[in-house]
Symmetry: C2
Subunit: 348 residues, 2 copies
């Protein structure tokens, strides 16, 4: 969103509204984390450096706008109120939950670089990283309970539980060289798709009213978000194998090193001949060396696994776009479609 | 509670109701954690072994009963409905949040024994322990959002944030040999007292209605819980220094080893002569050896620090009892007073 997309002229006003919303989310985020204890504040400053694409708050704001039947007219008449304080709070909540998982993920992955900065665990030790993650998640729930309705807390609580189960399932299958595609998708649906789907639903509900959970547009953006989330993660998998650290902005090839099988590798192992398969298996769980990475890329190319991965991500994006059918035509829907395409076109 | 207290005969019916409630809390707890994923279920079985005194669910149920004006009559007429499903859910929520902090604390403390069993981190690695803690906290929030009102989520979210800030403050002061009493109490108020106070308030609100946050009895049990919580922790500090692993049921003398200054040590360092002070300081942060522990106990006895610690815990318990003044006389109030006394009389 932020400078990622080439935005056609007719979406300029909506884009400005979203960018303005993201600034408000940042301010809300910081205000919620602020503490009267200097050591807490000091630690929270590390979180600022993790801030990235703000995909989830963007989706809260954009889905919130897109479900309005009269969005085009309201934007045309200069109505800046299409994104409300509820959308801002919900966006901050989703970003906090996401940040918490990043901080704890980096402990699990022993990662040293995230978004071009050293990770909390590498700078301050695992202990601070565990507590910082806990502080983020607690702050998210605290903020989420300030709504008049218990529905947002219910959606966020559910998504968080599902995410943790996904993390556990992933950990359980670490070093499992025969991980199949079905299980891999099961992990992604939980670990990544659930929160992104929840962000989209929350955005729609903040506009329509929290009692409208059965509104077709709510289901539609939820499905959109989940498919998009899986596509997003598959693109991440691809970048972990093919990306350069300086472009991606975080440690790459960590998946393989930590014995995590991702889509390209699962496809490769299913299609490689036994000798090649053996060669690839030896790389799983061992430290990444430049020459191995080059060899692996060649092996993946031979089985067409990179192309297959790109095709799968593309198919998921198409499904996400189709899920949007119940939404009213207008700038919101156009922008969501653009965002979906951007997910598979990014290199970072 | 469970076999800890000598209960006078007139409290027998209430005690049975509380014990019955604790069984229901256990069932609710297990049902909430149950997952369709076998690896998640398998990991949750580790949590069963952490189950201990169930102090927080006991307080939810007991405070819920104690704020009823007609408790004596209802118990007399055999009314088993004094503890409702809301109390059970709130009790399970508080226990889950507490368990989550235990699991993450054990990662931070590198503890190997908790409640007579090996800790999750020592058995399954820090990675599983971090995720298990996250799963517990997410499940707690999910359960907490099933109430009709957002108030329980607000109370639990707030208490969790305060707890994390307390953990951070404690970590910040690790190895700080000049930690003063004021900062020590500030840590306890956040790390321990907040959740126990919240458990008491939730219990009262489940009885009175969630919109009665300004009811005097709610404030009274909240204050009671916070004072009791601090007394409880100070008793824990004492047991960490004086207890035997086989009686306490968890790794002892870990506080000192990890450089955590507790009340007895803070008192000792403030009152010891320079030579003795130097001797004690050398023990902070170093592995505990049996001969050091014996020597330390003698040093603590010389400055009267053990007695001072017991006196402080006793004073806090007395303050907790005084806080209960707004509550109606009856078996609930009597039982709360008994529980308060039990906190400083326990050896485990």
């Amino acid at each position: 969103m932020r400078g990622v997309l080439d935005i056609p002229e007719h979406l300029g006003v909506l884009q400005s509204a979203i960018l303005d919303a993201l600034s408000r989310v940042e301010a809300r985020f910081d205000a919620q984390l602020a503490s009267d204890l200097p050591p807490v504040d000091e630690m929270c400053r590390h979180v600022e450096r993790y801030r990235g694409k703000m995909l989830r708050p963007t989706l809260v704001a954009l889905c919130g706008a897109a479900v309005r039947e009269d969005l085009g007219e309201r934007l045309g008449s200069g109505d800046a109120g299409v994104i409300t304080d509820d959308h801002i709070a919900a966006g901050a909540v989703c970003e906090m939950v996401h940040m918490a998982t990043l901080v704890h993920d980096d402990v699990l992955d022993e990662a040293e670089i995230r978004r071009r900065g050293a990770t909390v665990n590498s700078l301050r030790g695992n202990e601070q990283a565990v507590i910082l993650g806990d502080y983020l998640i607690a702050s998210a729930y605290e903020l989420c309970s300030t709504f008049d309705s218990p529905i947002p807390a219910r959606i966020v609580g559910r998504a968080s539980t599902v995410m943790c189960a996904g993390e556990l399932l992933q950990l359980h299958h670490r070093e499992n060289a025969s991980l199949d595609e079905r299980t891999y998708f099961e992990i992604l649906e939980r670990k990544t798709a659930a929160l992104i789907g929840a962000a989209c639903e929350l955005g729609a509900l903040c506009t329509l009213g929290f009692d409208r959970t059965d509104h077709p547009a709510v289901g539609a953006v939820g499905r959109f978000g989940r498919q998009l989330g899986i596509a997003f993660q598959i693109q991440d998998d691809l970048l972990d194998l093919t990306g350069e650290e300086s472009v991606v902005g975080k440690s790459v090839r960590k998946d393989l090193e930590k014995g995590k099988l991702t889509y390209p590798l699962i496809h490769h192992l299913a299609h490689a001949d036994p000798r090649e398969r053996g060669r690839t298996l030896r790389l799983i769980g061992s430290p990444s060396r430049a020459e191995d990475t080059r060899a692996l890329r060649e092996q993946l190319a031979e089985t067409g696994s990179m192309d297959a991965t790109r095709d799968t991500a593309r198919r998921l994006v198409d499904e996400a776009r189709i899920a949007l059918t119940p939404l009213p035509e207008g700038p919101g829907l156009d922008m969501l479609r653009l965002m979906a395409d951007a997910v598979v076109e990014r290199s970072f």
